[in-house]
Amino acid sequence: MDSQYLYRRSKEEDVVAAYRALGVASAVLALLALSPAQADPPPAVALRLLYISRQAPPPPRATLSEPVEPHYGLMGAKFALQELNSSGKFLAERYELLTLQVGPTADIHSAAGKAISASQGLVIADLEPGDLLAVADLKEASGALILDARTSDDTLRATGCRSNVYHMLPSWTMRAEALGRLLARKGWNRWLLLSGGTTQDQQFASAFREVAAHNKAVLVGESTFIQAGPDQSTADAIARLTQETLPYQLVIVTDTAERFGAEVLFNTAQPALVAGTHGLSAVAWDPQFRDFAARSVQYRFGLLAARPMTERDYGNWLAVTAFGEAFTRGRVRDARGIETYMMSRGFQVAANKGMGLTFRSTDHQLRQPLLLFGPRSLVGIDHAEAEPGTHESARKCGEKPLQPHSTQPSH
C-alpha cells in the first residue's frame, strides 16, 4: 500500500489495472511485431539516444504517501521515448534509448566513455554534478551533446559551464529568484535561513542570500542543520535552531538531501511560513500540476509508471523530448547539427508550460517559467526567466568566474 498512488480523477482509480492491461497489450503487440507475417518493416531508427545514470539507493521518504521508486528519472526518459515513438509512427520515425546505469561506487569514466563512443553522441545525463562533469570532460564526449536532466548546480552554469552540456531544470539561483519575487510582492521580507550541509544545500542558500540582498529582505539569522544531537529528535533540533530572538516571517529551507526539511513546518520556534526546498518551492514540475495540458501528461505517465511524475522524471522527459523535437523539425541527427538547430530561432520545445521553451546561449540553461507550488496547491507561475533576453549577460559559457557569495548574514 505504501507505494500506491492516489489519483484524483475517477477514471484514474483504475490506472494500475490499466497499466497492467497495457503491459499485456504491449507484449501482444511486441509478439505481433516479431511475427514474420507483419507486412511493413519498422522504420529505421532515426535517433538512438544514450541515457546515463548512477544506481543509488532510493531517496528517503518524508511520508508513507510518497512512492518508493528506484527508477526516478529513467521512467521520465522512457515515457518521452514512448511518446516520441507514438507520434513517430505516423511519420515513419523510430527512436531508441540505450541505458547505462553504473554501480553506486563504480568508476563512471570508462563505462561512460565506451557507451558514448558506441552511440550517436546524444546523451541524457541523469547524474549528480560531479558525475556530470566527469562525463562531460571525457575525451569521447568532446563531440557529444549532453542534456543535463537533473542538476540545479549554479557552478555548472557559470565557472563549471561546459560547451557540450545544456541544462533542462532550473538552477538554484533561478529558483531562489522566482521565490524572492513572490515574497517581495507579498512583503514577506524577514527571513531565517536554515540550510543543510551538502554542497547543493549551500549553493541554494547562497542564492537566497543574494536574493535577500537584492530584494531588501532581511536575513534575521541563519543556521546549518547537520544532524540532530543525541537524544534529540529532528523536530527538537529544528526548534532549537529557529530560536532566533528577532522576529521572522519565513524560514528559508535548503535541504536537497531530505534530511530535515519536511519537518520544519510547525516545528519552528516562532510561527512562520516555510519556503525553499520545502513548503513553498519554485519547481519545473510537480505531480499536482495540471495546467497547459499537464494533466494529460500526468495521466499518461501514471499509466506507464503507476506512480506520480517527479521533477527529475520531468527533466529526463524534457531532455528526450527536446532531442526528438530537434530531429523532427530540424531534420538533423548528429550532435553538432542538433546543437546548432537547438540554438536557432526555429527551435522551441513544448513543455506544458503554456509556451515554447528555448536555451540561453550564455549559460546553456533552458529558459522556463517556474511553478511556485505549496504542499497542495499551485500558488503562482513565475515567467521572469522564460523570455529570451531576460537575466542574460554577454558572458559565454565558462568565460567569467562566478563571484564568491557573501557568507555574512545581513541584518
Partner: protein, 322 residues
C-alpha cells in the same frame, strides 16, 4: 425561486415564440460543469443546464434540435434537447472525450478521445460505435468536409493533422504542423484546411488535395509578447473572404483576408480567448474567454467589440441555435 423560474419561462417563451431574430447561444463552462444558454438578442441568461464533469467540446445539429457536449471526466457526451433545454440522453464515446465534430448531415459524431489517442465515430441517434481510428497523442479539433469524404483531426502533443476517409476509416495523410495544434477548420470552398498551433503561434493552411502546408500565417501584435500569441478557434466568413482566429492569451481575435492570408486587424477581447462562434447570418462573432469567464460579442460589419457577457467558470466552447 419560483418567480425566477417563471421569469426564465417568460423570456424563453417570448424569444422562442415571437422573437424572429433571437437565437440561443450554448456555452460550455469547463469548471462549472454546466452549459450556459444565452438569448442571442438580449444576451440574458435563459438557463444554466447541468452536465457531466468538465464540459468542453460542444456542437449543434444541423436541424438545431440537439446540442452535444463532451463531458470528459465522466467519459460521456451529454445530449441537450434544445426545446426542453435539458440533458435528455447521453452517448458513450469511449474514454475522455475532449471535443467533437459532427458530419454535415448530423448523422455521425466524431470524437477526439484525448487521453486515449483515438478518434471515435458514433451514430448520433443510436449512439452505436461506428469505428475508432488510432491517431497521435492528445487528439483535439475535428473537421469534416461537406460530402463526408475527408475529415481531419489534430493531435496536440504529436503536433500533427491526421487526414482520414470517414468511409474507410483509414488515415490518408499525417501532416506535421507547428507545436500544439488545437483546431482544424475547412475553408468555405473546402480547398484548404486551416490548423491553429497554440505554442507554435501560427495557423497552417493545408491544401486539401495535396495535404501539403501551403502557407503559415504568423501574428505580431505591438506590446504583446510573442509567446502569448496562441492561436485557437477558427471561423470563416465566406461572403467577405475573412477568417477569424482566436489568439488565446494575446486576448485578441485576428481578422485575416483569406485570399491574401494577410492579417488585417486584431480585435481586443477577454482574457485567454479560446473558441469562436459566428451567428448563422454572419453578422455577429462570439469569442469565448476562458480566464475572464465571459463571451465577447463582436459586430462583424464594424469589426468592433459591442459588449461582453458573463457566463460560467472557464468557458470553453460555443454552439449557436438560429
Amino acid at each position: 425561486m419560483t418567480s425566477r423560474c417563471n421569469g426564465w419561462y417568460l423570456v424563453f417563451f417570448t424569444t422562442w415564440s415571437f422573437g424572429a431574430q433571437a437565437g440561443m447561444l450554448f456555452i460550455s463552462d469547463e469548471r462549472d460543469n454546466k452549459v450556459t444558454v444565452l438569448d442571442s438578442v438580449s444576451l440574458s441568461i435563459i438557463k444554466e443546464i447541468p452536465t457531466g464533469r468538465r464540459p468542453r467540446g460542444i456542437v449543434i445539429t444541423p436541424d438545431s434540435t440537439e446540442v452535444l457536449v463532451c463531458a470528459g471526466d465522466d467519459n460521456r457526451i451529454d445530449v441537450i434537447d434544445t426545446r426542453k433545454l435539458a440533458v435528455t440522453r447521453s452517448l458513450n464515446p469511449g474514454p475522455d472525450p475532449e471535443t467533437l465534430g459532427l458530419s454535415p448531415s448530423g448523422k455521425t459524431v466524431y470524437i477526439a478521445n484525448e487521453d486515449d489517442s483515438m478518434l471515435s465515430m458514433l451514430d448520433r441517434l443510436s449512439g452505436k460505435l461506428l469505428g475508432r481510428i488510432a491517431v497521435g497523442i492528445e487528439p483535439e479539433g475535428v473537421a469534416i468536409n461537406s460530402t463526408e469524404t475527408l475529415a481531419v483531426v489534430v493531435s496536440e502533443s504529436s503536433s500533427m493533422a491526421h487526414f482520414f476517409d470517414p468511409r474507410t476509416q483509414r488515415l490518408t495523410a499525417n501532416v506535421l504542423v507547428d507545436s500544439r495544434p488545437r483546431v482544424a477548420e475547412f475553408a468555405p470552398e473546402e480547398h484548404e484546411v486551416w490548423v491553429s498551433a497554440e505554442i507554435g503561434g501560427t495557423v497552417a493552411v493545408i491544401d486539401s488535395q495535396s495535404k501539403e502546408v501551403k502557407r503559415k500565417i504568423s501574428f505580431s501584435i505591438p506590446g504583446v509578447r510573442p509567446e502569448f500569441i496562441q492561436p485557437e478557434g477558427i471561423r470563416f466568413l465566406k461572403e467577405r473572404k475573412v477568417a477569424f482566429v482566436a489568439l488565446g492569451r494575446a486576448n485578441r481575435v485576428a481578422v485575416i483576408d483569406t485570399a491574401s492570408y494577410e492579417v488585417k486587424s486584431y480585435i481586443e477581447v477577454g482574457r485567454r480567448v479560446w473558441q469562436l462562434g459566428l451567428s448563422p447570418d454572419g453578422t455577429t462573432l462570439y469569442a469565448v474567454n476562458g480566464l475572464t469567464n465571459d463571451v465577447s460579442v463582436i459586430d462583424v460589419a464594424s469589426m468592433k467589440l459591442k459588449r461582453s457577457v458573463a457566463v460560467g467558470k472557464l468557458p470553453w466552447g460555443i454552439a449557436i441555435a438560429p
